[in-house]
């Protein structure tokens, strides 16, 4: 490991953080600040979904429902019951998690495919609930006048200020996820994705840990929903249509299933890219779809795989041009 590798290794996090902190100063106008803020929210969502799919291999096709539940939960508690905003955010997460138990407990034992279909139906049911349960959700006119946080005398109505709330939330979610993955319960979840038979043989209660992954991921999705509600100050069902679930799924897959940095960056890139291509008109959606397909085919590990590779090279743990040891060993076995 050279000196450069060492400097890189110890400074990378801090450089990234400083760039993230200074970012609003370089953003030309409010429109782009809005794009970046939304991208951060979706990055958190993509990362949350990755806790379920990346760890246990289960796919949730109606994930936006949990984001919506968090958003409505937090908005209702703040507007009708005047709860403090921080508490509303956490409560949004908890309510969303409660719904995951409701959906998960009967479906966790099903095979992956059936679980996916159940979540799809759940997404649609929740959407209908947002639209039709007018007395609680306000129906299609939504919930208005959601308060904005006013912490430490800062006016978070300004998108460039709200950005910092989102940034702190994102950093917290990343740290919590990372800690979880490198722990006993996190490894139990990963082992299910890798080989559920062996996981069971090692004493892992498979349905329980699948449920745990689902609960954690929907908790974060619910918090992200609350973050959206206090940012937008107005929510209605159009933000929670099932098509958004596919968008989140695409972000996670393009980012790299099972990679924290990847799924997060996948969320950022796929939120920002379509906005950058707006000048192309409607063809951008076709290009977007094409880009997703190309990445899935040519880089099955997604952006995360590429990032981890570059990171490995810069850290000095991977040498460029070196054949993977896996390939060497495989050859050895064949001999």
């Amino acid at each position: 490991m050279s000196t450069f590798n060492k400097i890189y290794k110890y400074s990378r996090i801090w450089v990234l953080l400083i760039v993230a902190i200074l970012l609003p100063k370089w953003i030309p106008n409010l429109y782009y600040q809005g794009v970046v803020n939304t991208a951060l929210i979706f990055a958190i969502l993509s990362l949350s979904l990755n806790i379920l799919s990346g760890c246990t291999g289960l796919f949730c096709v109606g994930f936006v429902a949990f984001y919506g539940i968090g958003a409505y939960g937090a908005a209702i508690l703040a507007t009708r019951f005047q709860w403090p905003i921080l508490l509303c955010l956490l409560a949004g997460g908890v309510i969303s998690m409660a719904f995951s138990l409701l959906l998960g407990l009967p479906t966790m034992r099903l095979r992956g495919m059936y679980f996916a279909v159940a979540t799809l139906a759940f997404g649609e049911i929740m959407y209908q609930l947002f639209v039709n349960w007018v007395s609680v959700t306000g129906g299609s006119s939504g919930i208005k006048r959601i308060p904005t946080p006013n912490w430490f005398g800062v006016n978070f109505r300004k998108p460039e200020n709200y950005y910092y709330i989102l940034l702190v939330a994102a950093v917290i979610v990343i740290i919590l996820t990372r800690n979880l993955i490198n722990s006993r319960p996190g490894r139990a979840m990963l082992s299910i994705r890798e080989n559920d038979i062996a996981a069971e043989a090692m004493g892992v209660d498979v349905p329980k840990y699948k449920m745990l992954a689902f609960a954690v991921s929907t908790f974060f999705a619910g918090v992200a929903g609350g973050l959206f509600a206090f940012y937008a100050r107005y929510i209605d069902p159009t933000s929670f249509v099932n098509a958004e679930s596919s968008a989140i799924l695409a972000m996670m897959v393009v980012g790299g299933i099972g990679s924290i940095s990847g799924s997060f960056i996948g969320g950022l890139v796929l939120s920002i890219l379509p906005e950058m291509m707006r000048f192309l008109g409607n063809i951008r959606l076709v290009l977007y779809g094409l880009a997703v397909v190309v990445i899935i085919i040519f880089a099955p590990k997604g952006i995360g795989g590429a990032i981890e590779w570059i990171d490995g090279v810069l850290c000095g743990t991977i040498k460029v041009g070196q054949q993977s040891q896996a390939a060497d060993r495989q050859a050895e076995v064949k001999e």
């Binding site: 979880l180 990963l190 082992s191 043989a201 090692m202 004493g203 099972g258």
Partner: protein, 255 residues
């Protein structure tokens, strides 16, 4: 010696096939019991019944005197009954270290909240677990590949990793399904030594093996299966002189 593991008239059939048929045997605490028999005799199926992967159509399994026939697989592991797989079931994309750490799942306690917040109890337990894993890896000659992905290891190393993962929790009984298959002669010798060392550390070993020289030298007792039925049961000397066994197995098939 007391029987720590026992099956009573256990059997399972798949459609018309009686894969395991009315098999009763005991494994004495602190001993090595070998299960031998021709291909397709039902040895792996018997392990699947003992470990809880299959539900028997008849008979029962006793562990430390308790009937565990209806106990779920993961709970049997929790009770101290672990296994390896003949057809290697590793967590291929996880590191060797992480594979064996999962083997400690039952012996550790860290909950999701302490894990996410990285509380001191988690960090302490994690450190202790890693030390324990390194000891086990060293025992199996895998300490130098601790950070590599399990799927990138050679076949022989993967076989050893299976053993490491099953023994790291220091179970009461370990079921080893053909640990010697695919090993070369020098590795065979160290495998035999390791199995004996595992027994000497207080873990009862039940072993399926085709390599007769290994079985004959290390086993305290041998069970012979043929077409799902137990045809012999005794010390290596007794079994190797048994007429039925010679006819069914030793005489015509010795790989």
């Amino acid at each position: 010696m007391t029987a720590i593991l026992e099956t009573k008239g256990i059997g399972i059939h798949f459609g018309g096939l009686r894969a395991v048929d009315n098999v009763s045997f005991t494994a004495e605490e602190g001993s090595i019991t070998a299960i031998i028999g021709p291909n397709g005799a039902g040895k792996t199926t018997l392990f699947n019944l003992i470990a809880g992967f299959y539900t028997p159509t008849e008979g029962s399994v006793y562990f430390e005197g308790k009937d565990i026939t209806k106990v779920k697989t993961f709970r049997r592991t929790d009770m101290g009954l672990t296994r390896t797989f003949q057809n290697i079931n590793l967590f291929r994309d996880l590191s060797v270290m992480d594979n064996v750490l999962v083997g400690l799942h039952c012996k550790t306690k860290c909950d999701p909240i302490s894990a996410m917040l990285s509380l001191p109890n988690k960090r302490k337990e994690e450190k202790k677990s890693r030390e324990q894993v390194m000891e086990t890896l060293a025992f199996l000659g895998l300490d130098h590949v601790a950070e590599e992905k399990a799927g990138s290891l050679s076949y022989g190393m993967q076989k050893n990793l299976e053993i490491a993962r099953a023994m790291v929790s220091h179970p009461k009984v370990i079921l080893l399904d053909e640990p010697a298959s695919g090993l070369n002669t020098s590795d065979l010798d160290s495998l035999s030594k390791r199995v004996v060392a595992i027994r000497d550390s207080g873990i009862t070993v039940v072993l399926i093996e085709h390599k007769m020289d290994v079985v004959m030298t290390i086993s305290d007792k041998i069970i012979v299966l043929n077409f799902g039925k137990k045809i012999a049961d005794g010390t290596p000397d007794e079994v190797s002189q048994d007429e039925g066994v010679i006819e069914a197995y030793l005489g015509k098939d010795d790989d």
